[in-house]
């Protein structure tokens, strides 16, 4: 994902420069006013599509919109802008932690009342909470993503005679067994990238333990030696302990990086049938393989391990860094269904806004992912490892990444793994 954004960065800054400059000239209530916007999106895939949203805003209001891509490190970029006393009017933050940090520093402004009402009307409580700090609402979640999808090669399922994708974990294990019996390796895992494994863990954990415990574990209020964690590891071991379930066996999985795990399922000489991954796997499939999403490749929601299927994901939240009339209007626009539908129509976008008409999504796959995110309602949870300190949840070769890789290498050691997770978490959460 990052690669794509980086590669196309140059092209888009140019596009953005003209786009922003030119979208002014219309008549409207805000004619003559300017609003500056900063977000991570660049390239034809994301930047250009987002620009259309901004264009529509200036068409309606007459305000001139200037869009600047921030680069990968949004927090650092915005921090330097604040230091230079020139923050953008509206910024999009990729992590909830950044919103909290900015709110504490007083860098972002509370939402005006009319936008707050709109958010309350259009978004589930969980999104309102994620956009708030200490009871004050700051942000509008504009874009969401889901990590609770399992992508599969339709041909492999047909060969194995599987007509119904699994909905429970037991079914999922059975499906994997049937695929293995049919002669296809069931699952591709990019285990060399630790975050692939933490995504597995989070999905199973959310379903096993439920949202409340998930929240507690996210903040390390309960220890990793909790029974729910051990149960999660035991469930994972039902898949991870089987060498013939994983493409290349366990050793092979640990040597496979995420980008290589996609063609392993959807490439020309496929080695596996299923790939648990985030919604952006769809664009990986279209860009890097000849398979077509919808015809050759499809997905099913991550199966329910406990009572309810999990929906884990992330989101980009819009915040006001300057309280101007144009910024207020833009925030209100972003909270509306119309704004989200402009991007939704173009594809590659999931909105957490429940007022968005699902029929605007360009294809069935995206519609189903969007529906899963909306239907999860208040049970939607953010990626736990993103919420943890990086030393625990986000560093190559250490913390949760390393420990889960070791667990994939030796899935029999449930208690030891839980203890190692707890020790690492203790050191990282201070």
């Amino acid at each position: 994902m990052l690669g794509v954004t980086l590669a196309a960065g140059l092209a888009v800054s140019a596009a953005a420069a003209c786009g922003g400059g030119d979208s002014g000239g219309n008549d409207g209530p805000l004619k003559g006013q300017t609003v500056t916007v900063a977000a991570i999106w660049t390239g034809d895939n994301e930047g250009a599509k987002f620009q259309k949203v901004l264009d529509e805003f200036s068409k309606r209001t007459g305000a001139k919109v200037t869009y600047t891509p921030t680069g990968d490190n949004v927090a650092a970029y915005l921090g330097s802008k604040v230091d230079g006393n020139a923050p953008p009017d509206v910024a999009f933050l990729p992590q909830q932690g950044v919103l909290v940090e900015f709110a504490q520093k007083g860098w972002i402004k509370p939402l005006p009342d009319d936008t707050q009402n709109l958010v309350k009307q259009n978004f589930a409580q969980v999104w309102q909470n994620l956009g708030s700090h200490n009871g004050t609402m700051y942000g509008v979640y504009f874009k969401a993503s889901s990590k609770s999808t399992i992508w599969y090669r339709k041909q492999a399922f047909t060969d194995a005679g599987i007509t119904q994708p699994p909905t429970t974990w037991a079914d999922f294990v059975k499906t994997a067994q049937t695929l293995a019996d049919s002669g296809a390796t069931p699952i591709s895992v990019g285990g060399a990238d630790g975050w692939v494994l933490t995504d597995w863990f989070e999905n199973v954990y959310l379903s096993v333990a439920g949202p409340e415990k998930y929240d507690q574990l996210s903040k390390h209020e309960i220890p990793y030696t909790d029974d729910t964690v051990k149960e999660t590891l035991r469930k994972l071991a039902e898949i991870w302990s089987k060498d013939d379930f994983l493409a290349g066996g366990r050793d092979g999985a640990l040597q496979t990086e995420f980008p290589a795990s996609v063609p392993a399922v959807f490439g020309d000489s496929p080695k596996a049938a299923m790939l648990p991954g985030a919604d952006f796997v769809a664009s990986e499939i279209s860009t890097n393989t000849k398979s077509k999403v919808g015809t050759d490749a499809d997905f099913f929601p991550f199966p329910a391990v406990g009572d309810k299927a999990p929906v884990v994901g992330a989101g980009d939240v819009a915040v006001m860094m300057k309280d101007t009339q144009a910024a207020r209007e833009l925030m209100k626009f972003l909270a509306s269904a119309e704004a989200a539908e402009i991007w939704a129509k173009q594809g590659g976008f999931i909105s957490p806004n429940k007022a968005v008409d699902l029929s605007t999504y360009p294809d069935e796959v995206q519609r189903r992912i969007a529906k899963a995110v909306i239907d999860a309602g208040d049970d939607f949870r953010f990626d736990m490892s993103d919420l943890a300190p990086a030393a625990f949840g986000g560093t190559k070769g250490q913390g949760e990444w390393k420990i889960l890789q070791d667990f994939l290498r030796n899935p029999s050691d449930v208690d030891g793994t839980a203890k190692k997770l707890e020790d690492a978490a203790k050191a990282a959460f201070k």
């Binding site: 290349g248 066996g249 496979t256 070769g397």
Partner: protein, 479 residues
């Protein structure tokens, strides 16, 4: 060379300053340029003046010329070293004084200690290996016709950046034989001596199958069979692509005086009923079936194209076994970048890069060896090995030491190859100090520059002896 060319220059200047310098002692405060002219040379170029202030330009001039270098050295070398040492005594925030805690952490923090151990392995193996390779290449290329071409090829890796070499070698070491050339070779060699089994990974269903694993990779029937019975031996996990080339399975008719049966892939595209031969299910040809009595093989048979077999045996109870050789999983080569081999593998890539460097330096030393010494040894009846061992190597020793020490310094600082080549799942096993220093100090949301600085200081202390040794050598060569 320097001995003969340098001294004359100061000697020519001597008359200008000699009188003034000799007459007034350094401590005397005589006014003007002259007094200063005495003090400066003795302090700035003490080695030459050796206490007797008498030579060189006036001190303000000397100071003026020295200043830029001193300022640069101070800013870019001395200050950073001192600051790093100071910083290493503080915690991650840089606010709390923690004394030597960070140094203790190097030995107690398992990741950092692992880096220290790996650095030791690197220093123990890489420089010696590279020097040895360089020596061999240099000696051998002296004797071949196309020496220049060979030398260029061996030296070429030096022209590639470490990062590019790392990327190249991650491909060389790739786990999958269709991408990684080393594993392709390993698999090729292995399969030449031990031909791959016809149905790798094929097995009975986990539940409800008349076959069960016999513990040695083969499968045997759970029930005993007798002549006159027809036995169904269903297997699964044969890929659809392989099934395409096989013939449809047939049930074998029972025959008196023989055990008959069918070995087939009990999984037609779309499913099929377990343990029954359905339409579209394929027979497995050329599977070796053994009949066992009392644990001993009494007869064998091989299946035909439709999967049927017939084993003629006298009356009695038998166990049928499908031998392990039918199903041996394919040999997948070695996990080069797995936790056990990752450090040796990366050292291999490093040797590939630096062998050329060693070869060129040693080659230069070799051409400077006096030929008559070698000739004399040969005339005295020494064998070629003795000439090499007793004459060439001792004469080459100074060059070998320079190459070795330079490599030690370089190897201690190794960073880029490890950073690029180690996959996330085994980077901890490949960890080295320089990489650990970088990761600890700068990566992630909560970097700990205290520990990072401590690692840097330790690295500096490790490099220091090699540097001092090298400087001493240069001095003694010149002096």
């Amino acid at each position: 060379m320097t001995d003969t060319s340098d001294p004359p220059a100061p000697r020519e200047q001597r008359p200008d300053d000699a009188s003034a310098a000799d007459s007034s002692p350094p401590a005397s405060a005589s006014p003007g340029d002259r007094a200063a002219a005495v003090a400066a040379p003795s302090s700035a170029t003490s080695g030459v003046a050796a206490g007797k202030g008498r030579l060189g330009p006036p001190p303000w001039l000397a100071g003026g010329f020295l200043a830029p270098a001193l300022i640069l050295l101070g800013l870019l070398v001395v200050y950073p070293i001192l600051y790093t040492i100071w910083r290493s005594l503080y915690d991650a925030d840089g606010e709390t004084f923690v004394a030597l805690d960070n140094y203790v952490a190097i030995f107690t923090d398992s990741a950092t200690f692992q880096a220290l151990k790996n650095n030791a392995i690197w220093v123990a193996v890489a420089p010696a290996l590279i020097t040895a390779c360089g020596l061999i290449f240099a000696v051998l290329t002296e004797r071949v016709r196309w020496a220049a071409a060979f030398k260029i090829i061996v030296f070429m890796p030096m022209a590639i950046s470490m990062v590019a070499a790392g990327v190249i070698f991650t491909l060389v070491y790739d786990h999958a034989p269709e991408r990684g050339v080393l594993n392709a070779i390993a698999v090729g060699v292995h399969d030449t001596f031990k031909s791959p089994s016809p149905y790798p990974g094929v097995r009975p269903r986990e539940q409800g199958s008349p076959l069960r694993p016999d513990g040695s990779g083969g499968f045997s029937t759970t029930a005993q069979v007798r002549p006159g019975q027809s036995v169904a031996l269903p297997l699964v996990a044969l890929s659809p692509a392989k099934q395409r080339d096989l013939k449809a399975a047939k049930a074998a008719p029972a025959q008196p005086g023989a055990v008959t049966g069918t070995v087939w892939a009990d999984f037609a595209p779309g499913g099929g009923k377990p343990n029954q031969i359905d339409a579209n299910e394929k027979g497995l040809s050329k599977v070796k079936v053994e009949a066992l009595q009392g644990g001993k093989v009494v007869a064998t048979a091989t299946t035909r194209d439709d999967g049927t077999f017939r084993i003629a045996v006298p009356d009695g109870a038998y166990t049928l076994r499908l031998a392990e050789s039918n199903f041996t999983p394919p040999y997948n080569g070695v996990t080069w970048l797995g936790p056990n081999l990752v450090t040796p593998a990366i050292i291999g890539a490093y040797v590939w890069m630096w062998a050329g460097f060693a070869m060129v330096l040693i080659g230069a030393g070799l051409s400077a060896i006096p030929r008559d010494a070698l000739e004399a040894a040969r005339v005295d009846g020494a064998t070629e090995w003795q000439v090499f061992r007793r004459v060439t190597i001792p004469l080459l020793a100074p060059v070998l030491v320079v190459v070795f020490v330079t490599l030690v310094i370089n190897v201690l600082k190794i960073f880029d190859l490890v950073y690029i080549m180690a996959p996330g799942s085994s980077i901890q096993d490949a960890q080295v100090l320089a990489l650990r220093m970088y990761l600890v100090s700068f990566v992630g949301e909560s970097p700990d520059q205290g520990l990072g600085s401590a690692i840097a200081v330790v690295l500096f202390l490790l490099v220091l002896p090699a540097m001092i040794f090298n400087i001493r050598r240069f001095r003694s060569e010149q002096g």
